[in-house]
Symmetry: C2
Subunit: 210 residues, 2 copies
DNA sequence: TGCGTTTTGTACTGATTGGTATAGATAGAA
DNA sequence: TTCTATCTATACCAATCAGTACAAAACGCA
């Protein structure tokens, strides 16, 4: 049952407030985002922010989690939903690229720029993004393992390494977006990235020059 | 000839001062590094810093350039110095990985974390790292083009795309280092990265499963 | 209506920020 | 030595920072 609370009702939606905070942190980083920036973007005043989220640090952690679920997580979701394996890998990179180069939004990735920059200085950030990264990697690897079991991939396919490689390649895309490369320019390398992830093992490296 | 200047001589080496600033910015980012942090690390006081470098922003730009030449640039240097193409690519990734996981130093890359995070907020940072990235990419591409001319690579080898891919993969490594992955763990994917860069074109994608 | 409870708005806090004024210190040149 | 130029050291500045005290406002409930 829902606990009815009396008192003045909250005049804003905390979930929408977090998404506004996401954009501010995404654009300016943790230290670069002042409380004035945050409260102005959300449209509330300081005491409301502190009563709801605790302090700036915890709002930042909430923003990272919300970003992971509602934005960067969509790439893994699309990966899992795609019909074929190759489509799944391609869709993963495409979705991540779209998220990182959306017009009118900050370019790049909140985690790849703001969170990573403050990972050592803001308590809890490092642990949080490590855990989120591991979870994404595990979801990618799970599909590779399933594909091995279904004989869609050879038995010696290094699923763990390739799942890690996928995230590295995704972060590479995101880096280019952050420094201003256009969506089209980054999309140019898409098939190279897909092929890198799905390349089969070649014991004598016969498919590559010396 | 050297212009002799009278007056009290400077008690520190500006070049070493910049390298100290590199470490502070590398660890804490631009906004996270206070003037107290910087002057304490360098061992000078504020007026000396301002007389020599102008202000915090210009010291940051100097630190980014010094980092690019003396640290991250060593990966491209090693790439150019390696005897064979495959060794060159492997050495590039190895050197970049060592730089990003050196014990006792900040993990990751000053450019990949601090500079990228403040690229939109600190004037000149975005332009500077864009230009540095383009220059590195051009140096990588030049060797690929030479290898094509020498018939060490097939004529249709996409040198521009693969040079961009190399930098993406390098930034992916750097991201993992920043979030705490060990050098050994990251090195595990080294051959995958080398193969991705040097993979030959396969019109029917016959070397990959569907 | 009036009470208890929670949120909101304003105004404030001490601490820290980047940057500087000023005086003393240290060199070469005359 | 004396003059001039440059650097160093201390102490300071206004502005901004994250965080909070307090009173008015807005609800459910009686």
């Amino acid at each position: 049952m829902v606990q009815k609370r009396s008192g003045r009702p909250r005049s804003f939606d905390p979930e929408m407030a977090v998404m506004q905070a996401v954009e501010v942190f995404w654009a300016k980083g943790y230290e670069g985002a002042s409380l004035d920036d945050l409260t102005k973007a959300i449209g509330i005043n300081r005491p409301s922010l502190y009563a709801t989220f605790g302090d700036k640090r915890r709002l930042f952690l909430a923003a990272i989690q919300a970003y992971g679920q509602k934005i960067s997580g969509t790439a893994v979701d699309a990966f899992e939903a795609a019909p074929t394996l190759r489509d799944a890998v391609r869709t993963f990179f495409q979705t991540a690229l779209e998220n990182a180069t959306r017009p009118g939004k900050p370019q790049g990735c909140l985690i790849g720029s703001a969170a990573v920059a403050s990972a050592n200085d803001v308590e809890g950030v490092g642990d949080l993004i490590r855990q989120m990264s591991l979870r994404s990697r595990a979801r990618l690897q799970a599909r590779f393992d399933q594909a091995i079991a279904d004989a869609d991939l050879p038995p010696d396919f290094p699923s763990e390494r390739r799942a890690a490689l996928m995230i590295e390649l995704m972060q590479g895309q995101v880096h280019r977006a952050r420094i201003g490369d256009s969506r089209d320019a980054i999309a140019d390398g898409l098939e190279d990235r897909v092929s890198a992830v799905l390349a089969v093992q070649s014991p004598n490296t016969q498919n590559s020059p010396s």
